[in-house]
């Protein structure tokens, strides 16, 4: 059967990578005798520079006329489900007998609800898509109503919605080789062309496997894959990497799997296969901070592991138990430090706003996030708890609030039309991912501000946040709420979430609230001097490193260097913060700190006694000559 696999517009980003779920499906369907074609409207709208809401449906209608499929199958990721619905309606307008199917993360988790919402939708596939979709196409080819026997399928029967028994999940070794078996279903060169000139990495997502055995209450993907850990054979993963590198020069691979490292034996096999392949590429994977990888880390690094992703979630052991994650926060710090020693970076993610969470617990979590940044985490993310089905927490009758901010940041287009906001707000059951549970940690607007401010503040000023976390002793978040009262809220559109841009723009946006946070932190005179020194250093360093003129004049500067008159021994203060030691008044000892840009792009740092500053102000001094010679 001819089947058009539809990816609705997904993200307003310039670089587009192939939609992994649909690509896997296309390769599977071809192996089962069908004729799939992927229409990736995310790619189509970017390629045509027509990233506005009104363009993708006409593009779809043209593809329908060109390809004339028997079946249209659409996927979605929550954020683009409204667009998916518009495509299903357009398909039925095009031809009433065109069969419409929906699956993937959202429709696949809420099959019956999808059919109830959307009269134009004929079938929804629950859970894993490959066997159900090929089974449905086989049955439709055979005719009659044999499709009623297809497993994992939701359909209407005499006005009732029926769900068939779930299919056993497939052995991933039975998937056909991915990229070489796509035929004309997908033209990967169109994706390659979206890579921006000067991109430091040529990134692509490939599937390493599915399923996590853990049962964290907020997690949707573990139950989606029925908590069964499965992997593709290591040799198959390496074959995919080799093909994509050799044919399309992709060199950075996101190994998609809910928890790839949970099986260290498999990780060893994968690393051995990568080492044998000798490819100049790197990869990242999801892990947990309590998975013991220590003996494997050198091999992982040698095999190209660039980064791991950790959900750390909370610094509170109580919250760790509430969410059924049970990580040891101190262990998380040790793991990140260990990775860093092996040259492997990480992203650490936290979930804020459990229903009974206290502001003090979030304060400790933010401070932990800052310390992890200091110990080698490349990125620290704070997310508010949201209700993604089929996560266990979504089964609880919790009072929730609509979260427009999250919708705006995740929406596929820069503007969210008001009728789309209304449609999502009106259906809490289906769009529960855009609702947040009420929490004792703060009001919804306060929590939105916590998420926004601290995400960026930890990125740009991790030492100051770690120090504030330490000195306020659990009162960081209450102090932040007082600062919000004093100077008002951040606006999401004034912050860039694309970290390839100029970070000083975000700094200028944060600055008034940041200063007010310090004012409201209840610091002693000595503590205030320490914080002011750290804040001043981080601001000066940020502007110098990015090459943007600073709002505060430097103590002295040359073409390639800048000096900061610090009220404290910064090197020692930073070391204490990184290792979790207390800051104290004896650190308050003025000195001059100098950063000099090196030709290779790095920075050298030097110190002088404070009374040597006048030497830096004389262009003909030995010190200035030495600094100008830094290379």
């Amino acid at each position: 059967m001819r089947v058009l696999l539809l990816q609705p517009p997904l993200l307003p980003a310039a670089e587009v990578t192939p939609p992994l779920g649909l690509t896997t499906l296309a390769s599977w369907l071809r192996a089962h005798g069908h004729e799939p074609r992927i229409l990736d409207l995310d790619l189509e709208v970017r390629e045509r520079d027509s990233a506005t809401e009104d363009r993708y449906v006409p593009l779809f209608e043209r593809a329908l006329s060109d390809f004339e499929p028997d079946v249209c199958a659409v996927t979605s990721m929550y954020s683009n489900s409204l667009q998916a619905e518009h495509l299903v309606r357009a398909a039925k307008r095009h031809r009433q007998d065109l069969v419409t199917v929906a699956g993937g993360a959202h429709f696949g988790a809420l099959g019956p609800a999808s059919l109830r919402r959307l009269p134009e939708l004929d079938f929804a596939i629950q859970g894993e898509g490959e066997p159900a979709l090929s089974g449905l196409l086989d049955a439709l080819t055979a005719g009659g109503d044999t499709w009623k026997a297809v497993p994992s399928l939701c359909y209407r029967d005499a006005g009732e919605i029926v769900t068939t028994a779930a299919a056993p999940q497939i052995d991933l070794a039975t998937l056909p080789p991915m990229w070489t078996s796509l035929g004309d279903a997908l033209d990967i060169t169109r994706y390659v062309r979206t890579i921006q000139p000067g991109s430091p990495r040529r990134v692509i997502y490939i599937e390493a496997g599915r399923g996590c055995p853990f049962a964290c209450t907020f997690c949707a993907t573990a139950p989606f894959w029925r908590r069964q850990f499965r992997v593709k054979p290591a040799a198959r993963i390496v074959d995919e990497i080799r093909y994509l590198y050799e044919e399309h020069q992709y060199d950075s691979f996101m190994l998609v799997h809910d928890l790839l490292t949970v099986n260290p034996k498999f990780m060893g096999e994968l690393c051995d296969a990568m080492l044998e392949a000798k490819l100049p590429v790197e990869w990242m994977a999801n892990s947990r901070t309590d998975i013991k990888l220590k003996g494997l880390l050198p091999k992982m690094k040698a095999a190209g592991c660039w980064k791991l992703f950790f959900g750390v979630e909370s610094a509170s052991e109580r919250i760790q138990a509430v969410v059924d994650k049970h990580l040891d926060p101190a262990g998380a710090e040790a793991t990140v430090r260990e990775l860093s020693q092996h040259g492997i970076s990480c992203t650490c993610s936290f979930v804020l706003g459990q229903p009974d969470e206290r502001p003090e617990e979030i304060s400790e979590t933010i401070a932990l996030g800052a310390r992890l940044k200091l110990n080698g985490a490349e990125t620290v993310q704070f997310h508010r708890l949201r209700m993604w089905p089929p996560a266990p927490i979504t089964k609880l009758p919790l009072p929730v609030d609509f979260d427009l901010d999250s919708l705006r940041i995740e929406y596929p287009f820069p503007q969210v039309p008001s009728d789309h906001v209304d449609a999502i707000r009106a259906d809490n059951a289906f769009f529960s991912g855009y609702f947040v549970p009420e929490t004792t940690a703060g009001t919804p607007p306060q929590m939105a501000q916590v998420e926004m401010f601290f995400h960026h503040a930890v990125t740009l000023a991790p030492f100051t946040i770690a120090a504030l976390g330490q000195l306020t002793r659990g009162r960081l978040v209450p102090a932040f709420y007082a600062a919000l009262e004093a100077v008002g809220s951040l606006k999401r559109e004034e912050l860039s979430w694309d970290m390839t841009g100029d970070p000083t723009l975000n700094w200028r946006t944060l600055r008034p609230l940041f200063r007010s946070l310090i004012d409201h932190a209840g610091l002693s005179g000595e503590e205030r001097a320490l914080i002011d020194g750290l804040f001043g250093y981080e601001e000066w360093r940020l502007f110098f490193v990015t090459g943007v003129p600073s709002p505060e004049p430097a103590a002295a500067e040359g073409a390639t260097w800048s000096a900061f008159l610090s009220p404290l021994d910064l090197a020692q203060a930073l070391e204490r913060l990184r290792t979790g030691q207390e800051l104290s008044g004896e650190l308050l000892e003025p000195r001059v700190l100098i950063l000099a840009r090196e030709a290779a792009g790095g920075f050298a740092s030097y110190e002088l006694d404070a009374d040597q500053l006048p030497e830096l102000l004389r262009p003909d001094s030995d010190l200035v000559r030495d600094l100008s010679a830094v290379n």
Binding site: A571, A596, F603, A604, S605
Partner: protein, 44 residues
């Protein structure tokens, strides 16, 4: 020649005191590639 070399040569040639740059023990991850995406860190 970098500053360290310059300073050490200078120290060897001259016994007279002069203001000297001291390499800092500063360890700041934002001096690596995490802000600019291009710079590399050199901790001195």
């Amino acid at each position: 020649m970098n500053v360290n070399q310059a300073v050490s040569i200078q120290a060897g040639e001259q016994k007279t005191a002069r203001p000297a740059l001291r390499p800092s023990r500063l360890q700041d991850p934002l001096l690596s590639n995490q802000v600019t995406n291009t710079a590399t860190v050199i901790f001195v």
